[in-house]
Symmetry: C3
Subunit: 344 residues, 3 copies
C-alpha cells in the first residue's frame, strides 16, 4: 500500500471530527526577516522592538499574517489537498500575539458538510485553531472548501451548514494584553492619520505596485509549509504556470496598504475573504481599501477599524471590485474583510 498522503476526500469528513494537523513549527527571527523580504511590510509594531515596547508590548510580535499562514499551512495536507476551491473564511480572530521562538500547531473541527448536487464533490466547513507551545489558542477561524469525492456513488451525508457570523462583533475583538496607543508616535509610524481621521465609506488607493516572481511566491509558500502541489509544480498545468498561494496575495496587499493605512497596526479579526481570481507570476499586484466600520475598544488609545482590502492586477485608482452582473471583475484577486487596531 502506498505510504504517501493521498489527502482526504469528501467522504472522509464527519461532523464533530477533530483533526490534529501535523508538523508543529517553531517560528523566530528568521521567519520575520523573510516575511519582510517577501512583502513590503512596514507596520512599525512588527518592525521595531522599541516601537512595540513604547506601545505596551513586551517586544515586537511576529506579523499577524505569519501566524495565519503558518496555522493555515498545517491544515493543507488534511483539508485542501483534494480541494477544488477555497470558498470562504469567517469568524477569524487573533487571540494572542505570536512571539519569536513560539511553536505553532493547528487543529480543525469539522462543523459543516454539504454534498454538491452533481454528486462529485461537496463543501467541508472547518473551524481551525492555531495553538502555541503552551496550548494557548493564538488564532481561530472558519474556512470552507469544495472537496472531491473519492467515489461519486458514496452516499451523501446529512447536510449541515453552520450559521456563521457575517462580521466578527467589535465587542468580541481580542486586544493584546498591555496594548496602549496613548503615547503612539505617529511620526515614527510613518503617517499622521489616526482612527478619527477615517470615515466609514472612505476608499483609499494604495498606489504602489509589486510585480510578482515565481521564486518569491514559492519561497513564501514553502516557508508556511504549505505543500499544495499547484503552487510548485509547473508540469501540473498545460501552460506551465504555477498558481500563486492566495495567502501570498493577502500578505502583499496588506503590506501595500501601509501607504494610506500605516497606523492600522494589528489585524485582530478576519470577517470574510474571497480569492476572486487566480494570480500568476508576472502580474503586478496593486491594492485599495474601503473603511467598512469603526468601533471603540476598552484599551487605552486603541480604536478598531473594519476594512475591505482589495487586491487587483489592474488599476487600483478606479477601485475595481464587481461588474454589473455582481461577479468579481477579472482583474480582482482578493476581497478581504478584516478588523485592525489603530490609535485614536
Amino acid at each position: 500500500m502506498s505510504k504517501t498522503n493521498p489527502g482526504r476526500f469528501f467522504e472522509d469528513y464527519a461532523i464533530g471530527q477533530v483533526i490534529r494537523h501535523a508538523v508543529p513549527r517553531t517560528v523566530a527571527e528568521g521567519e520575520r526577516a523573510l516575511y519582510h523580504a517577501l512583502y513590503p511590510a512596514r507596520h512599525a509594531l512588527y518592525s521595531s522592538d522599541e516601537f512595540a515596547a513604547a506601545n505596551g508590548l513586551e517586544s515586537s510580535p511576529l506579523d499577524d499574517l505569519i501566524a495565519f499562514h503558518t496555522v493555515f499551512g498545517k491544515t493543507v495536507p488534511d483539508i485542501s489537498l483534494n480541494a477544488i476551491a477555497n470558498l470562504g473564511y469567517a469568524e477569524g480572530r487573533w487571540l494572542l500575539p505570536v512571539w519569536p521562538g513560539d511553536t505553532l500547531r493547528s487543529e480543525s473541527e469539522v462543523i459543516g458538510l454539504k454534498e454538491n448536487s452533481n454528486g462529485k464533490s461537496g463543501v467541508v466547513y472547518v473551524r481551525t485553531r492555531g495553538l502555541n507551545q503552551m496550548d494557548q489558542p493564538v488564532l481561530d477561524y472558519v474556512r470552507w472548501v469544495m472537496v472531491r469525492k473519492r467515489d461519486a456513488a458514496a452516499p451523501a451525508p446529512e447536510p449541515v451548514v453552520p450559521d456563521l457570523a457575517k462580521v466578527v462583533d467589535a465587542a468580541d475583538l481580542v486586544i493584546p494584553e498591555g496594548l496602549d496607543f496613548s503615547d503612539y508616535d505617529f511620526e515614527l509610524a510613518g503617517e499622521p492619520h489616526r482612527w478619527g481621521d477615517y470615515a466609514i465609506g472612505e476608499k483609499i488607493d494604495h498606489v504602489d505596485g509589486v510585480t510578482v516572481e515565481e521564486a518569491e511566491h514559492m519561497l513564501a509558500t514553502r516557508l508556511w509549509q504549505n505543500t499544495a502541489k499547484v503552487h510548485f509544480d509547473a508540469t501540473n498545468r498545460e501552460d506551465g504556470k504555477r498558481l500563486i498561494y492566495g495567502g501570498h496575495v493577502i500578505s502583499m496587499a496588506r503590506a501595500l496598504s501601509f501607504n494610506g493605512l500605516a497606523n492600522a497596526q494589528m489585524i485582530v479579526a478576519l470577517n470574510a475573504g474571497a480569492h476572486a481570481n487566480p494570480c500568476f507570476a508576472g502580474k503586478t499586484i496593486r491594492a485599495w481599501s474601503e473603511v467598512l466600520d469603526k468601533a471603540e475598544t476598552d484599551a487605552p488609545g486603541v480604536g478598531a477599524i473594519r476594512l475591505r482590502l482589495v487586491a487587483t492586477t489592474g488599476d487600483s485608482a478606479s477601485f475595481p471590485l464587481k461588474g454589473e452582473d455582481g461577479k468579481y471583475l477579472p482583474e480582482v484577486l482578493l476581497d478581504l474583510d478584516y478588523w485592525a487596531l489603530m490609535p485614536l
Copy 2:
C-alpha cells in the same frame, strides 16, 4: 602577482596534507528559516523545538543538510575550484547535532591521489571534517573529485587509492545523545509508518514535484558560501545556463521524500552519492526512495533505515535509475545512499 584565489591544481595536493578551510560560519535561526523557504522541508524534529524536546533533544537542531552544505561549501575554494567533476562520496557520518548559534569550520586531509591516463588531470580523495566552535567534529565524510593539472608535464605522483567502505556499518552510526523515540507522536509527525512498516526492497514514489528557479538555487548556494562560479555566472556557458549546485538537488529530494518517509527523521550517514546528470533552472524535480537495509540501534525506540534517494526530472512513479547499459538514465539527477533514524 594576482591576489585572487586561482584554486589548487592536481599537483598542489600531497598525501597526508591537511587543509584548514577558510571562513568559519555561525549558523542560526536565519539559516533555518531560509532552508525551510528554499525546500519543502517538514521533518518535525527540525521544525519544532517542542517536538524535538519530546524526543529527548534539547531543542530542534538545524537540518542535517545545513551542516553538510556549510561544511562542504568551505571546502570548495581549496578542493573543487578547478574540479572537472565531483565523483563520489563515502563514509559520511553525522557526529553531533548542529544547534542554532554554532560556528562551523572545515578541515580536509588528502587521502588519495591518482593521475588520469591522459596526463591532464587526476583524482583527489579527501576526508573532510566539519568542526564546531568547541572543535568537536560534527560531520566526517570522504569525497573524491577530478581536478585539472596546472602543467600536463608535471610528474605523476605515486597512485594511492583509499580503501573505502561501500556502506557505513550500522554499528558505527552515531545516535545523538538523549534521542528517544519511545513516545514518538506519529500524528504530529505527519505519517503513521514506523520502522517496522518498511520492507527491504520497498520503493516509494514521493509524488510531489518542484520546478526550480535560478534565484532559488543561487540563494541556497550562496547561503552555504559555496563560490563555484558555474552556479552564478550565466556568461560561463554558451547557453547562458547556470549549473545548479548538486547539494540543492539533494536537499530538494530529501524534502520531497517527507511524503512517504516523514518519520525518517535524522540523517546519520552518507554511504555513497552520485550526481548523475546536471540540473538547470526550469526543471521539475521529483523523487523516489528504495529501502536498502534496516538495522536496530541501542537508543530507545530508534531504528536505522538505509535508503536510496533518487531525484529525477521525469516521472518518479516509474522509479527511473539506470538503462540497460548500466548508465544513469538522462532524467536521473541524483542517486544517494544514506542511513536515517526512524521510530520503531
Copy 3:
C-alpha cells in the same frame, strides 16, 4: 484628501530642517542570513562569532552594508520618492557596529539646496544619521539627490551648497572598540595578503561574476524597507524592466571583492560614490578594486586601506571606468570610494 504619501518636492525642503524618518527596524540573525543568501559575502568577521571574538569584538556584528541599507531605506519616503537621480555620497562614517537585536532609525538634516537652471527641479543635500535603540549614532553620511519641483513657478531658494570633504581624513576613522588584529588568523580569513602587501595604485580584478535576478534584488530592497516603486513595479517602464536598487550593486560588488581583498574586513568610511549606469535583471556583475591610499591607525595590528570599488557588467580584467570623454563607460555600474580596516 489623499492619505497616501506623495513624497516631498523640492519646495518642501528648507536649510536646517531635520526629518525624523519613519519605521524603526530591529535587525537580527534573520537579516544576516538573508544578506549572506543574497550576496556571496564571506568576510570572516561578519561570518563567525568566534572569528570576531578572536579579534576583540563581542561577537560578529551585522555586515556594515546591512546598517547602510537599513538607514538609507528609511530615508527613501522622505528624500527620494520624487527624486530624478541619486547624485552622490560624501563624508560617510560607520560609528558603531550594529549587533543582532539592535533597532535602527534614521534622521536627516537638510544641509544644501540649489535649484536647477531649468526651474523644474533642484538638488537637495542631506546629512543622514542612523541611530540605534540607545540613540547612539551608528552611521553618518551626506547624500545629494535631484528632486522634482511640485510647481515650476515656485520661487528658487537662496542656493546653499555645502563644502564637503572629498575624502574622509584617515585620522577621523572610527575603529570599533576592542578591535585588535594582532592575532589575526589569515588562514581562516581566506587569504594571506596583509595591509603591507597592498601598494597604492594597485588594481585587483575580482574575477567572479554573478548574474542577477528580479526575485533577488526585490527581496533585498524590501528587506531594507526601501519602497521606491521603480524597483518593484514592472508596469512603471515601457520595457517592463525594474531598475535595480543601487545598493544591491554595492553589496554585490563588495562581496565579490572578497576574492583578492578577503582581509579588507570592515568598512569604516564612504568617501564618495556614483551609480554610473542603471542595472537590470539578467546582467552579470563583476568587480575590480584599486588601492587609492593607505593609513595607519591607533588600534593594535589594524591598518586602513582606501579602495575604489568598481562594478561592471563587462569584463573586469580590463579595469573599465571612464572613456576619453571623461564619462563613465556604459558597462560601469558603480564607482565607490571607501576606507576599510585590514590586518597589518
